[in-house]
């Protein structure tokens, strides 16, 4: 991690950036495609990175993701039926197996070599299904984000699915929303702070893959700290860390320390957010929380409903911002301030990933 302090450096970076409502997306990366429970035996459609994908599970429960359009007549395969381990098109009955190969055409014996669909690498981990939409040869499980760091698959914490919320905005705007926590005071008054999120001092750290902004709240009295204050039986210092792992994950960590005995193990509330472009004008927001077992209990349906309403405030804001940018076009003005530093670093990092991918593609084309 490199600490970044120069504001002028941020400005020079900003000048080269694309409009955040029109950011493209790298393809060679793991994105959250779905929660495990969304995919079953019935074909399940979801559009990801501008492609129609169809998900299903084979007889033994393995999740499969295929290109969503039958290459024969263009019928959405999600309108078909899973028969054994294959997906049968609902128009003329062509069947495809998990590799994407066509294995049956009712009206003839031979199968043309081009009659196949793409099959996308998947990794099912915790309760996420991650997808690799780019070159399958490059699909490297080692590049999957660290689930321990997200507070998932740990014995001392319990992860819990919130919900998925679709937002009619470019995914870059959602990253920038999450990376500037000063919005908490104004967009979500009374929910997560005591009106001090915007004024707390902050620091930004970044490398090529991750951008992190940290704010400290000594003796915190926000609603978030209540459980920890009860647990420590005294004042709590809160650390609020927001970190984007480009291109498809943001993790917000609230770490609570016993202010009087800082050596005691901290308590934590961690929120990993899968952020996946549906296309360049809309995205999916997969919302999860993980909580230390000593302090927090799982959310009730009512609490989850309240959480939905809060995230809907972000959604409504981002959709209005997206419409504004689309109305004004790619050169719409953005006047930047210091609190935008993390968001701008994120934007540059994603743009850089896209640039590298295009270089790779064009050099591959030459070879």
């Amino acid at each position: 991690m490199v600490s970044v302090t120069s504001v002028s450096a941020v400005r020079s970076v900003a000048s080269q950036l694309v409009c955040p409502a029109m950011q493209g997306h790298p393809c060679n990366a793991w994105y959250v495609a779905a929660f495990s429970r969304e995919v079953g035996r019935a074909p399940f459609p979801r559009r990801i990175l501008g492609q129609d994908v169809v998900f299903y599970r084979t007889d033994d429960g393995k999740a499969v993701a295929l290109e969503g359009r039958c290459p024969h007549r263009g019928m959405p395969l999600s309108k078909g039926e899973v028969v054994g381990d294959t997906l049968r098109c609902g128009y003329h009955g062509f069947s495809f197996e998990a590799t994407g190969a066509c294995v049956h055409i009712p009206s003839q014996q031979s199968i043309p070599s081009k009659m196949k669909v793409r099959s996308y690498p998947l990794i099912e981990k915790w309760e996420w299904i991650w997808i690799w939409m780019g070159d399958p040869q490059r699909a490297d499980p080692a590049q999957l984000p660290n689930h321990q760091d997200m507070g998932l698959e740990r014995s001392d914490m319990t992860g819990q699915i919130g919900f998925m919320m679709e937002i009619q905005c470019n995914y870059q705007l959602l990253h920038e929303n999450l990376l500037d926590t000063s919005h908490i005071t104004y967009l979500h008054p009374g929910s997560f702070d005591t009106g001090n999120s915007a004024t707390a001092t902050f620091r930004v750290e970044a490398d090529e893959k991750a951008i992190r902004l940290t704010r400290e709240f000594p003796d915190d009295h926000s609603p978030l700290s209540e459980a920890a204050r009860r647990y420590f039986d005294g004042p709590v210092n809160r650390l609020l860390i927001t970190e984007t792992f480009v291109p498809g994950l943001n993790v917000i960590k609230n770490i609570f320390y016993d202010a009087k005995r800082p050596e005691r193990p901290p308590q934590a509330l961690i929120s990993p957010f899968g952020i996946t472009p549906k296309d360049d004008r809309s995205c999916y927001h997969f919302i999860v929380s993980s909580m230390t077992n000593e302090t927090f209990r799982q959310r009730t349906d009512e609490e989850r409903k309240r959480l939905w309403d809060i995230f809907a405030q972000d959604r409504d804001a981002l959709e209005a911002i997206q419409r504004g940018f689309e109305d004004l076009g790619p050169d719409a003005a953005e006047v930047r301030v210091r609190a935008d530093e993390a968001g701008l670093r994120c934007r540059r990092a994603i743009s850089e990933l896209i640039r590298q991918e295009q270089l790779q593609d064009s050099s591959a084309a030459v070879r």
Copy 2:
């Protein structure tokens, strides 16, 4: 009729074809515009081949089709009123007669020579109203499809209107749907076959105007054959013929033969389909059935409702396919198989009609 058997020939044809979701339309042809009962004294609007048309009947019941937009201020004439034999615009009261000539302007005596609308040739036959949207000089009644062949205006059969269904897809996709009856097994399971439509052998015959695909079902047990089996009191051989008469008509014939005494007169269920582009992204599907009097009785409302639901399966599939093609653009892949032969021949025949029409138009422009 020329019998077509070479698959490679079909392939070479296919390579030159336009995207079936973006097919244009010939104008110098008869298309079904409406069922007779849809047109009365009140102005009736319908968009046909991308043009707004307004229909009404004169005092003596003659159907009239005029350009749907008042040339004065662009008001839709369908918002006007029929007064005697004329159609009066609802904005400033300009009146037009069946020829399209303006015959009255309330605010002045003289009528500018350009103040007129197009009047389209119509032929009302059986319960269809056919329209000629192209050059009226070329509107040749002899080119009207043969109504006997459709099972209409025959003493041994009774025709019956089903309904008109609007579909948000290019009309070419509907022709291709109807010309590949292998879809019956998968899109309409249990409705018209015993799961064998896709596997039955077939033959294709075509000339410049008509493309026909025939499938044979010896000793057929599909629901369609039930009435004929009762009538013949024994096994039935069924012939399923689907035939497109380019550009605006498809006829599906189910012919039932007494399997034991094939010399007996066959029974028939014939379904003529008027297929008319609304514009290049949507079309009208006029659904009619004609049935031999000995075996079939007219459908009840309930049966017609069931039929609607079946055709809605086609509509939903075609609309999804259309959206997919529009999303992917004119070069979207189509991998073809032998069963597509009739559909591809139809596509080529329609494209050829359009090409010829453009040649005529440009040579007319030179003259």
Copy 3:
């Protein structure tokens, strides 16, 4: 005023005119932005001339109009909150004062010089709020339309707000609707005339800023004249004047004279219409009436509802006409007649204002 009588002159003018569904708009002009009562302490958004504007009132009640988008992250300022005399953005809490200057950024002390929004000159007069969307330096109160002429702020007449109706058409079409009163007979039968609006003789007068069409109805029996006939206790001659003051106002005057004693002071029903482009495909129609105190009383809610239904007939017609023009493109035919003269003069006058503004802008750019 110059009297215009030559029809051929109108024709030559017409040939150069733009499509009335695609007319642009001058910016350096006063337009009605809102009725006073629409603007209060809570931020109120309205799109005007294709720009998002947000209105509010300061502590002492002064109306303010600011650019509607926060320059920081593009959030609509209408989603913010008025605090004292400033408008605070609902995303990150940036505050703007009535001049458009940013006066507070929660996360930092210094305010970048570019962090500001446009503030639009307003004049609140009678119950209208007029806005100047163009160069604020040119915002000249002397150019505000004459309110006495509209029948407002006069002791002998009482003005009354009707309502605002949004119409999905270019504002030019609305001017042309109001300037050709021959439509009253056909679009609003039985409402405002005895079927004679279209046939009454008319005269057109025009200068660069105003276009006026006058029709005379001696011994008028239209519903409009009823109150005046009671007041004069005898026959009434009615004068119907429709006048557009380019670009944003039309005034329709019904003047009633005692037919037997024409020297008596006339009675009047004046309807000023604020006509403001929302963008180039939609506009606002601000509907007001002013009535001589001796003859008319204020409209009841029920009468206003009836009036709404009548104006909705215009709206429905204009929206259909707009769709037709958009469908056919900028070269869609319009065949003109004598009654279009005032509308065409209006179109030319607005186009001329736009042309002059473009000349000014380009010469300003050179300097």
